[in-house]
Every structure is written in structure tokens, then in C-alpha cells.
Homo-oligomer: 161 residues x 4
């Protein structure tokens, strides 16, 4: 039977220290709930940190890679999906997640939030970036949740599920 | 030899009256420059208006459709590309455009802007939505241009090209 | 660390009785090797049978779905990847598989074999369809393996890995 | 109004001399009918030859590229669609073609034929490769047409349209 999948999206190379810490803890807490973790699968930034956290929590990790091979894959990914679709794979990331959490902000992350909202998904923003909070809550007030820590994020996922 | 392609992105069913008028005029002016117009190809909103404007200007129109057949296609599309990829086709829209203009705002349009910026494209915002101007200029200050009318938009395209 | 993923491809609604039996047994044997099973994820034909076999063998099953929601998903899929890409997802199926086994034949299966060969993957044909054996071995003699039973298929996978 | 689009598919680097000659002539004849030509858009093999033929016939050429930029694009492509999807773009090639002609054979071409048949498209085989004729006619007898010269191919397109 299908497992619940929680997607953690966020910057790669440009992730901030705080985003990485949140991503790691989110990964760990998601794993402890018995949910599978889904990320963009690369060995940098929020993706890598969340995967490592989930493995520390004995979870199952799914990585949706932009390329067609293992170059640049997070070593903490269990199931790798090689799309060879570049950033178009961002739509698969969000469609395959029961809930999407954005941990940090950037162009790629913004595309995932927007695609999630377009696809009628609920999105949790874990970021102190005020402009993105204001923007996405205006775009889709009923589907965007702003939280300020990982415990609140997990509680929000439970409420949504 | 490859034609210059200008992409006009914007809301479908939820487009505002002003966005539709701008889209029509943009389509017409783009055609008059000899550029091809690229849109999401549907028979609603900004897509349809821009295509109609381009045909009024004797231009060539390319529609990148989300589905696999002609249902819902703008009658003003000359070349239809059927992707059957839903919103993942938004990435193709922006990668295939030499410059992207967002005419209005919504979740789909936001995904196109974000994917364009992720793909190192220049994006022109023709919208009075202040939150989106602030948000995207913060994401990518060097690649986002805010304009307030279609003539300014065309001049900005020329400067970029 | 990334799990080994074996892809089992084959017809949906038009699968033959023998293909279904082979698919079920393949799923079971793949699971018993500790490999993850990857299929197109639908609740019909070879996909469904292979997933059920893998679950009978206590395996992990990954389904790469053509649509964007759970309609028509095999109940034996653990991890569902919703692509909303129709048959273009066939390329993801094969790129994400360490080895591809075709169990039966049809237009969709043929596309997966051809995409696998184009992507430099090894393909095992478990089918008594002579024309497909001849055709694909001519296309790519060094990458196509013809087997006539599931035990031989598993041995061939081991040799390839 | 939407133009009729004829897709010419065939090998890239490995195209035979005869395939190239056929592709050039097909491109020219397609253009003379007023149809748009669609190919995979690269500057090699059947794609490049067909595009050059179409331009010699004053036609309009559409190239659906596997990558995200102009590297490797046929100079005879008018409208370039950059998918960044690798071989998954083969599905777009066939869905966007009113009729598909395969000119020569190889793994990529085979994937396009199979995806076309899966997508309920008519496919014309212009190849002396007997194994592929037999294979695809068995897969989909009602949708595959075998021809042995370009004039016959054009007549078959007209009959289909």
C-alpha cells in the first residue's frame, strides 16, 4: 500500500546554514513518523541535508534527480528516480508529495511552490523570507501555511493529512 | 535559421481585463517586430489574447499545450506542440523563449517566471502586482525587469536581445 | 545508499496469461534478492502482477505513474511517483532501472525497450514473440538478452549487475 | 489556425546515405504541400537532412530539441523548442505530428514509432529494414504503413489526412 510521501524542497548550493539545519531535522522527524521523504536528490543543500536527517531517523528516502545518472546524487538517497528532465522534474517532485515543505528560498524552490499550488497541493513555508511568505499567501491563501520551526511544520503536516 | 521567439505567459481562466488587453497588444507588437510568439497555447486568458493579437499583426504563433490533443487549443495558434505533460510543460515554454514576459500573475505564471530564472532567462514583469515584483526581483535582481506598459515591454525586449 | 532497482515492463490491459504469471514470479524473485521493483505503477497487467509478486516476497515497489493522482494505481505500489507525463514517463522508467526486463510485448513495452537501448541500458526480453527478439537484437545486439523463463531472467540480471 | 505538421523521424549520427537522401526529398515535398516539418531538430542525420530539404522547398521547420540550448541545433530549423528532456522529448515529437514518417531505423527511431503507435498515431515506415517492418506491423497492423519511396510516402500522408 502506498506510503505517505512528504516532499522537502529547498536551495542546493545556495542554501543557508539555518535551512540546512532545519532540513536535517525535518528529514529526521519525517522518518520518525514513518513517512517517506522525497527531495530533488542531489548531494547539496537542503536536499542532501534532509536525506541525511531521514537516514539518521531510519527512514526511506526518494530522490527525483534532474539528470540521467548517479553523478551528483546524495549518498543518503535510497530510491533514485532519474528523470533526465532538468527543472521540469520539479513538477514530479510536488505531484508525488502528499505535502510539500519549502525550506529556504530560491528560483528552483519558488518554481516548486508555484507548481505545487497550481497542482492543488498544500505547501508549508519554513523560511524567514517575508517577501515569499507574502507573495505565495496572496497567490493561494487557502493552500499556503507559514511555520517558523520544524516541530510546527510536522504538526501542520499531520493536520493536513 | 532560427527565429527569435518571445514567450508571453499569464493566467488562463483568471486573467484580468487589463492583462488580456496587454496580452493582445503585446502579441500584435511582437508580430510586427518579426518575432515568433510562444504561449501555453490554450483558448483562454492571456494565451488566447496574445495569440489573437499576433495573428492580427500577421505573426507566427507557437502554442505549447499541456495535453495531447486539440481540445482547448487557441484557434490563433499556428504551430501546436502537444506535450501531454501538464504543468511540466511550463519549463519548455520558458526554455524555448529568448525572452519571457509575464502578463498578469497566478500560480502557473509564477512557476514559469521561477523556472525561467532558474534557467538563466531574462523575465519582464508586466503586472501591477507589487508583491510579485518585490519577490522576483529579490530572487534574481539581475534578470527581472519591471515594466508598466506594452511599449516599454517591447523596448526592454529589444535591449535584452 | 541507493538500492538496486530492477524495472519490469510489459503490457497493461492486453497482457497475456503467461506474461502475468511470469511478472508475478519475477516480482517475487526480485524482492527476494533485496532489489527494489520498478514498474509503470498501474493496477493492470504486468505492472500490477509484478508489484503483487514483489509484495508477496516482502519487497519494496516503486510505481512511476503516467497521471497526477491515485486513480488506477496498483494497490501493491509502495512508493508512487506521479509524473502527469503520459507515455513520456516511459523514459523515466528505464533510466531509473539498473536493468530492464520486458515481460510480454506491445507498443508501450516496445517504447520502453527502445528508450532503454537508446539510454545505454541492458534489456532482458522474456517473451516468446520472435519478431521482437529479432528486431531488438538487430537494433542493439550487445545490450539485448533473450531468456525463456524467470529463473534465467534473474540469473541474467545478476550477471549484468 | 493550426498548420498540418508532418514529423520525420530517423537516425542521427548513424543514418545511412539512402536515409539522408530520402529525408531531404521528404522535407522538400512536405514543404511544397504547405505542411510544416517537425523533427528532433539536431544538426545530424535524418533531422538535419529533412530540415534542409524543407527549407529548399520554402517550408516552415520545427525542431524539438533534447537539450536546453542551441548547441547542436540544425541551422535549417526555424522554430526551436528546447525541452531539456533528452529522449523523453520523443513523445512530444510524435504527439505534435499529424502523421509520423520513420526514415531509417535505430533505437531512438524505434522509440518514436512505438510511442506514436501507443498514442494512436499513424506511422509510415520508409526503410528497407525488414525486421522493423514485420515487428511494427505486428504490433499495430492498422496504424503502420510501409512505403518504399518518398512519392509513395507523400501519397500515403494525403490518404491519412
Amino acid at each position: 500500500m502506498r506510503k505517505i510521501v512528504v516532499g522537502v524542497m529547498g536551495p542546493g548550493e545556495k542554501a543557508k546554514e539555518n535551512d540546512l539545519r532545519n532540513a536535517y531535522e525535518l528529514g529526521q522527524l519525517i522518518a520518525q513518523q514513518g513517512w517517506a521523504l522525497l527531495t530533488g536528490g542531489r548531494n547539496v543543500g537542503v536536499m542532501d541535508a534532509a536525506n541525511k536527517g531521514a537516514k539518521a531517523g531510519n527512514g526511506l528516502t526518494v530522490g527525483i534527480l534532474p539528470n540521467d545518472n548517479q553523478d551528483g546524487i546524495s549518498q543518503a538517497v535510497d530510491i533514485a528516480i532519474f528523470t533526465d528532465m532538468g527543472n521540469a522534474r520539479n513538477n514530479i517532485n510536488v505531484l508525488s508529495s502528499d505535502v510539500v515543505i519549502a525550506c529556504g528560498m530560491g528560483a528552483g524552490t519558488a518554481s516548486e511552490i508555484a507548481l505545487a499550488l497550481k497542482g492543488k497541493k498544500k505547501v508549508i513555508l519554513l523560511t524567514d523570507d517575508k517577501e515569499s511568505q507574502v507573495f505565495f499567501q496572496k497567490i493561494s491563501p487557502e493552500s499556503v501555511y507559514v511555520v517558523d520551526n520544524v516541530v510546527h511544520a510536522i504538526a501542520t503536516i499531520k493536520a493536513i493529512l
